[in-house]
Subunit: 211 residues, 2 copies
DNA sequence: GTCTATAAACGGATAGAC
DNA sequence: GTCTATCCGTTTATAGAC
């Protein structure tokens, strides 16, 4: 599945413009603090008009979250392809680094759609959570499988906890990382090194950067 | 400063009962989704009566957040005292483990007051954030100083990022850790080992547990 | 200290004109 | 496809009785 199909009506159709504006406001203010009147104002429409494109505020939010997951999932698959296509066989650390870079690039490169999964998912209406949980589970399963293959000595329980710890470390960066002040790939390398080698070992720079 | 002074009017005065109920609801539903009517109902009062104890909803939320930080800060100081009083001089890893355990124990042991700092701080009203930022900074500074002393080879920038990565890994546990299914001190040990030694090294159990 | 009553504003959602 | 107008519920906060 591809995350960004061009809509039939063109690149910036009414529906997509609403989706972009909604994502930006949800990311900025949270779900409940964002009113439909505010989103409508951002695309120079009236609140009632949104209901031609979306059935409810919940449905609009689900659409935004679904797009966020689709982008993350595509990013993971792209990283897996680059690893498979690498001329020299990569070691485990380089393999992990490729995926951490991909995750962080998509996360920060589509902030409005992806950050909501970190900040607003827990307090979202139950119906919203239920609608998006399967897609989230599928993405998390990719990571669990990856870590399991990279750390063959660990039990399934340990892999599960390590994934949560890694996600906590990486995803919390949306609350503080500022792309104008730091380089995202550099941060990805620091996190990978910390996770893989530990903070007590001197940091070795990863030169296997892909662009 | 002590975090839990007994109020003049007794252990469960009106004000403290409101504070406890508010914290529980804020943690469960978030700031905006929690109405004053709901909090009042939990303590068998009417919404208007809350204004005798608190000037506004914002002020009530700030009081909850401030108590959360005070508890975390006291927990850190307690860990520091245990380290200083240890008969044998502890190594860096054991020193870190003591503080990670203390942080996690206070975090999960006072969930209603502390989890809000992880889940609801970012979307809180600007006035609320401004009021609580100094206390948060002071707690973070304790950790920055600790990590700096434990990792003398690292630059201040690196220490800052490592603290954020560690906080992300630890604090995100409030979204998934269930004390009924897992042992919190065991998790603290896993996180400490992962942070200090890295996931690629076999896990060595820490026997220096304090009770 | 707690209550009732109410002000004033804002929310999601719908109906029907154009 | 978008607008206007409106319904109806909920919110924080205040005023004054008890």
């Amino acid at each position: 599945m591809v995350a960004a199909p061009i809509a039939e009506t063109g690149p910036s159709s009414g529906r997509d413009r609403i989706l972009d504006a909604a994502a930006a406001r949800f990311a900025e203010l949270g779900f409940t603090e964002t009113s439909l009147r505010l989103i409508a104002g951002d695309v120079e429409m009236k609140a009632g008009s949104l209901y031609y494109h979306f059935g409810s505020k919940d449905e609009l939010f689900v659409s935004v979250l679904a797009r966020g997951i689709a982008l993350m999932s595509d990013g993971f698959d792209g990283a897996a392809q680059r690893v498979a296509a690498a001329a020299e066989q990569q070691d485990a650390r380089a393999h992990l680094a490729e995926h951490v870079r991909a995750h962080l690039r998509v996360l920060h490169g589509n902030f409005a759609f992806t950050s909501l999964h970190v900040t607003s998912f827990r307090t979202a209406p139950e119906a919203v959570r239920a609608a998006i949980v399967p897609e989230r589970d599928a993405y998390e399963a990719k990571w669990t499988a990856l870590l399991g293959s990279l750390l063959p000595g660990r039990s399934a329980d340990e892999i599960g906890i390590l994934r949560l710890v890694l996600f906590g470390a990486i995803n919390s960066s949306i609350e503080w990382f500022d792309a104008r002040r730091g380089n995202l790939d550099d941060f990805a390398d620091v996190v990978t090194d910390q996770f893989w080698n530990g903070a007590s070992r001197p940091h070795e720079k990863d030169d296997n950067d892909s662009t």
